[in-house]
Structure formats: structure tokens, C-alpha cells
Symmetry: C2
Subunit: 405 residues, 2 copies
């Protein structure tokens, strides 16, 4: 008779996980990237060089660099953010984290209490909302248009909260390659967001984890770069630009916040080998990302063409100028939570929209499709299969691939 | 005028961290290891081989192995635990964590609620108690002797709790190279602990993170290996046996607990490169640990000799049969929290006993000295300096290095 742990579990736990069943045949979920885009040989060279130089330092927690992370890596991050996001920072403002998910957790732990309110985008990274829900924190969504968060609606939301006597703990935004809509917030709106935040005396939490992946138009300066008051806490990641299985993210913050983040980062440091390798590889970062973006653009083209071909006018979407996902809205008769179940059972994994919006009702007919991981031929087959399933279950699309179904 | 974050902080935060000031000259704190013990060349070879084979898989979260960790690494861990701790487990029972600190956090998150009680050893890893305090969990200490936790006192503690209507959530133990006392719990006591846990119907949480570092006497079977009911949640680490800056620990648990651990491990996985490298390096693990233990035994000898020489009978301690620290008790007039401050200011870092015991009062005259990191000459100088400071501040030791002070 095995020991029964169930009476011992924390009563606020989420439900148990299911067993891992392997990758679905047509995998349009998760922030996976293109296996052909991993710079394997260069990573081997970087690992060899950095271990030869500093391998002995692995014997000490923090690699003699302190709890903020390996010093050469923090310097490399500061340099990349200067080049790519116009951020004028030093390594002392950088905290290396185990992916940007830990960045979210640490910032939330420092700022949030049960019952607090935060402002987010009306369509938003699902993992952010899962975290907020687990912390007992309320959120209010700000509407998006093709250029990201609408500043008129942000004003309205902030005024509305103020009228209720609620001061949000932060405005959370993914301004550059917004998740899930893929929009890029123009510089004017970034400045406007800072003004609104100032008028309401609240911080901004800028999550820029997809910002390196842009192939059309430039990358605007980070909101952090436009901020003259230190109001912005910034986080980023190498998960999307190098490889998600390397758990390397970072937070940029000034000492008053940094000292609090450090006090709750009780993990003994982020993996040093990955930091060492990436600090060595950083010199090739720009070149690598250019090549990766070409590759991702090709896949974006493939999925957009497949959607047009298979779904025709049934699927509404904007072809994203960067990133790894496209946000699609289907006709009203299609509930994507239901569709995700049916399609999942047939090997087509999609993110139902309800999990990626501030108000689940508004995402009922939408879905997020990630396109970086599957080969182009698999993308085409998967979208065709998804259209077939939609046709079979909901009667639309009526025509696909130029033939009546 | 910089933005003031202070009104926004979570009110239950610990105080801010201080700025990192570099390594102290005589560093007797922290789980650092010997830089000469890091197998740098073998790690380079392992990194090269594993990246050549599986580097492309870095493009996917979880390396196509699911959320429990890289499959070859989990298999390697299961194999090592069979060889070294007599544990009969499979890779399905292994969850790779970012160091054993994350293992503590995950197990605590799954089992503990504010107001709960747990049973620990009367002298205990400081980080365990810091975590419990932050979670609002109470602890009761069980007395130790030269062989670890005293089973007569465990019975007494459990009966006492029962009389008060309190059922502890787990018995936490570091049975093998106990932290900070260095003792190794004999197999009979391990079996007795299982019986007591059974009689009181409570789980055991076995923290074996130092267990590979034994140079005198054998390593007893893990408590997990003696458990026939699945009552034990086990954790371990490669931090002490390979390198602390590699953040690689693991939990061994059956599916009812594993499924709950997975549901709260929302970090996107533990760093894959470190898992890959260690899975490749695992074949050399036994040989490496044998060599490392010889090295550590040499340092243990050095610190024990230095303590005898400089402190004479003023310092009470048992030379540990493994691990990286020695637990020293000084005369009553010496408050080690005070000593730690004075010595710290003069470049000698020590762990004051009050932070490493269940009841701070019982540790007032004790201290933990970690000896793995400093070179042998530095150990000697540091202990001499510590004795000088004690003599100057407290009048003892009166004699040191065979001369009157």
C-alpha cells in the first residue's frame, strides 16, 4: 500500500500535471525555435574557449561575480541592449535570471501582494496571467490595435481605476512583438505610456523577450531607454534569439529595485555554464539574429500563405513583422477552446485564444499559432489539416486550397 | 528625481541585499569547492560531444524530453543513485531542478502552507530555515549526536507534537554528511526513522546533497532506498560533487508527488546545456568523486590540524568523515554572531552558529567553517587569524601554535 501524500498537499495547489506525451505531429504551440537556427558549432567553440579560461571558477557560487550573474555576461547584455534597444545601462543594472519566466516571478515577488491590481494588454502572454492568478492579483486589460496598446484606452483604464481608488502596481507591456498579436509599439506611444504612467505615478514593467526578432521595420528604443526617471523595470531573454532550452533571461533595474530582487533570488545563481557560453558567443549575436530572422521570416511567409490558401477570408490575421507566432481570429461559430481539444486529439496543437487574453470571452474565436519550430512542409500540412477539421466541425472554411470542400 | 519604488514593494519582503563586495580573503562560508577539483578538460570534451549530438534540440523547451528534464541526464542520475545510494529507481521518478535549492522550494510549495509545522534536525542548513520562515512555517528541532539525528528524541518530539494535536508535514533530514555537523546517520537509525514516520503517518524529506563526499567509512543506503511505501521524497545535487555554479539538482518522487511538483515548476525547464554536459560526464563521475574526496580530505586534515594548533582545547569539534565543513563549538564567553562580525571586517568569513540551528540560542557559541575552497596555506593563515581575533576579543585561546599569546 503506497503512502498517500494527498492529505499533505498545500490546498492551494494547481491540479496535477499530466504525463508528457511527446511532441505533437503539428506543433503550433510553445516558444520553440527552429533547430536549424541553433548555432551549434559556434556554441561548441564558445564553450571550449570560456571553459578553458574560466572553468575553474565554476567551483564558486556566482563565479566570483556576485549574485547578479557572471560579470562578462552582464557586460555583454549591457552592450547588446545599447546596440539594439538604445538602452544606456551598465552591468551593475543587470540581473541574470533563469529565463525571463524567473524575471517575471522575481519582479512579481518584489512588487505584488494578494489583492493587488495590475494593468496588462487585452491580449497577453498566458504565462503572465497564470502567474497573476496564482498570486491572487487582479488585472485589467487595455485594448490593442495593429500598433499595440491603445494609449487612449490606457488613459481610460487608469482614470477608471483611479475613480475606484485603485492604484495598479504596474503597467505590464510586451511592446515589441507583442504576445500574442505580434504588433510593435511605435516610439510616440512609448513616450505617451511614460507620460500616463507619470501622471498616475505608477511603474512600468516592460517585457521585451521577443524584441530581437524583427524583420520588417526597425526596433524602436525600449521604453526603458526613453524613461528619464527609472520608472521602468525591463526584462529580456535569449530564449527566443538563441535557444529556449538555454535558460537565460535578465532584468534591468536600478539599485533600489535590484537590491530587493537579489534578496528574493534565493536560487544559488543562474546556471554559470550557459552564462559563460553566451558571454563568449555575444560577439556573434547580431549576425546570428540577422540570419535567424531571415529563417523565421520564411516560416512566417509559409504560415501566412497556408492560412490564406486553406482558410481564405475565414481567418483574419495580420502578418507579423517579427516573432514566432500569428494571432488568428475565426468566425463566431468557432470556439477555439473546443477546436484546440479536437485538433489536439488529431495531432494539431494550437493555443486557444481564451488563454491569451485578459478577458477570456474576447478570445473565444481566436487562436495563437507558433511557426518557428515545424519545418515549412509541416506548417503547410498542419494548417491544411486544421482547416479540414474546422470545415468538418463547423462548416467553415467552405473552400480551401481553391477547391470546394 | 528618480522614481520612488518603495511604496510599491510587497510589504512582506526581506530587507534589501547589500552590494557584492567580492570574496573575503579567508573565506570559510558558502558551499564553494576547490577550483583545482573542477574537471575542466573533461567538461569541455563532454560539452563538445553532447552539443554535436543534440545541440539542435536546444531549439525546443525541454529538449524533447518533457518537463522532468533531459532524458539521458535523468537516466544517468538514476544510474548513479543505484550505484552510490542503493536506490532502485527509474528516470520517470527523477525531476531535474536548478540546484537542490529549487528542489527545496518545489517540495515546500507542494506540501507547505502558512502555519504548518515541520520537524528538522536541531542543527540544520540555514537556507532551509530561511525558506521555512519566509513561508510562515514552524519547525521543531530533533537533537543530534555524533551519528546524526537521535531517534529517541525524534520519538519524543513526534509524541509531543501529537499530544498538542499537531501533525508535521514532513521530517526533514540531511542524513549523510549532516549540515552543519558532518555526521553520517547509520543504517539502523535510518530504518528506525522510517518506522517512526510510519507510526506517525508522516512523510520524510531526505536532503542528500553532500552524500557523495565521504572519505571514511561507507555511504549507507539512502533512506529512500530502505523505504518500501514511497514515503520519502529525496533530493540531491551535483553542486558539491562537480561544481556549485552548475545549477543541477534533482528530486526523486513517485508520480502522485511528481505530478504536483511539475504543476508548480513553471520555469520553462532547468538549463539544458548543463544537463547535457553532465549527462555526458556522468560516466566519469565515480572516478572524479574519488579524486575530489582525496583532495577534500587533505583540506579537512589541514583545517583540523590548524584548529588543534591554534585553538587547542578551546575549540571543540569532530573531524568530519566527509563534506566541506566542520562544526566548531567555542567557550561560553564567545558569541559567534558577534565574532562573525568582527572577523568578517578583518577578512575572515565564518557562519555564526545561531543561523545554523533550530533554536538560535543553542548555536550561540558554535560556528561552521567551510574548508573546500581556500588553498591549504590560506586555511592555515585564516584559522591562525581567527584564533588571534578570539584571543584579542575574548581572551581565549590563551596559547596558540605552542606559544603563549
Amino acid at each position: 500500500m503506497p503512502f498517500d501524500f494527498s492529505p499533505f498537499f498545500n490546498r492551494t495547489l494547481p491540479g496535477p500535471s499530466g504525463k508528457y506525451g511527446g511532441f505533437p505531429t503539428f506543433n503550433f504551440v510553445g516558444g520553440h525555435n527552429d533547430p536549424d537556427g541553433v548555432p551549434v558549432d559556434d556554441l561548441i567553440a564558445a564553450a571550449t574557449k570560456t571553459l578553458q579560461r574560466d572553468g575553474r571558477d565554476l567551483a564558486t557560487y556566482g563565479m566570483r561575480s556576485g549574485p547578479q550573474g557572471y560579470l562578462p555576461f552582464r557586460k555583454a547584455i549591457a552592450g547588446l541592449l545599447k546596440d539594439r534597444a538604445a538602452m544606456d545601462i551598465t552591468e551593475d543594472q543587470v540581473l541574470v535570471t533563469s529565463g525571463s519566466l524567473q524575471a517575471l516571478d522575481l519582479v512579481n515577488e518584489v512588487l505584488l501582494e494578494r489583492g493587488d491590481t495590475v494593468v496588462i494588454e487585452a491580449a497577453c502572454y498566458g504565462g503572465t496571467m497564470t502567474r497573476l492568478a496564482r498570486l491572487g492579483v487582479n488585472w485589467v486589460g487595455v485594448d490593442l490595435d495593429a500598433h499595440g496598446m491603445r494609449m487612449d484606452h490606457l488613459r481610460e483604464v487608469m482614470d477608471g481605476l483611479k475613480a475606484k481608488g485603485i492604484k495598479p502596481k504596474y503597467i505590464y507591456t510586451i511592446p515589441t512583438v507583442q504576445n500574442p498579436t505580434g504588433s510593435i509599439l511605435p516610439e510616440e506611444r512609448r513616450r505617451e505610456m511614460l507620460e500616463i504612467a507619470k501622471a498616475h505615478d505608477v511603474p512600468i514593467f516592460e517585457d521585451d523577450c521577443y524584441a530581437d526578432l524583427i524583420w520588417e521595420g526597425g526596433r524602436p528604443p525600449a521604453i526603458q531607454a526613453l524613461d528619464t526617471e527609472g520608472r521602468v523595470i525591463y526584462c529580456g531573454s535569449f530564449s527566443k534569439s538563441i535557444a529556449p532550452a538555454l535558460r537565460l533571461g535578465y532584468i534591468v533595474a536600478d539599485w533600489p529595485v535590484m537590491s530587493r530582487l537579489l534578496a528574493v533570488k534565493s536560487d544559488g545563481g543562474t546556471g554559470a555554464l550557459e552564462q559563460m557560453v553566451m558571454s563568449e558567443y555575444a560577439a556573434k549575436f547580431h549576425e546570428h539574429v540577422d540570419a535567424l530572422n531571415l529563417r523565421l521570416r520564411g516560416k512566417r511567409d509559409a504560415i501566412v500563405e497556408a492560412l490564406a490558401k486553406e482558410f481564405g477570408t475565414t481567418a483574419e490575421f495580420t502578418a507579423p513583422a517579427g516573432g514566432i507566432f500569428v494571432w488568428v481570429t475565426l468566425p463566431e461559430q468557432i470556439d477555439t477552446t473546443h477546436l484546440a481539444k479536437i485538433a489536439g486529439a488529431e495531432g494539431v496543437a494550437i493555443n486557444p485564444g481564451a488563454e491569451w487574453v485578459a478577458d477570456p470571452e474576447t478570445g473565444r474565436h481566436s487562436l495563437r499559432l507558433c511557426f518557428a519550430n515545424p519545418p515549412i512542409e509541416t506548417i503547410r500540412e498542419g494548417i491544411a489539416k486544421l482547416a479540414e477539421i474546422c470545415h468538418r466541425e463547423y462548416g467553415v472554411p467552405v473552400r480551401g486550397a481553391n477547391t470546394q470542400r
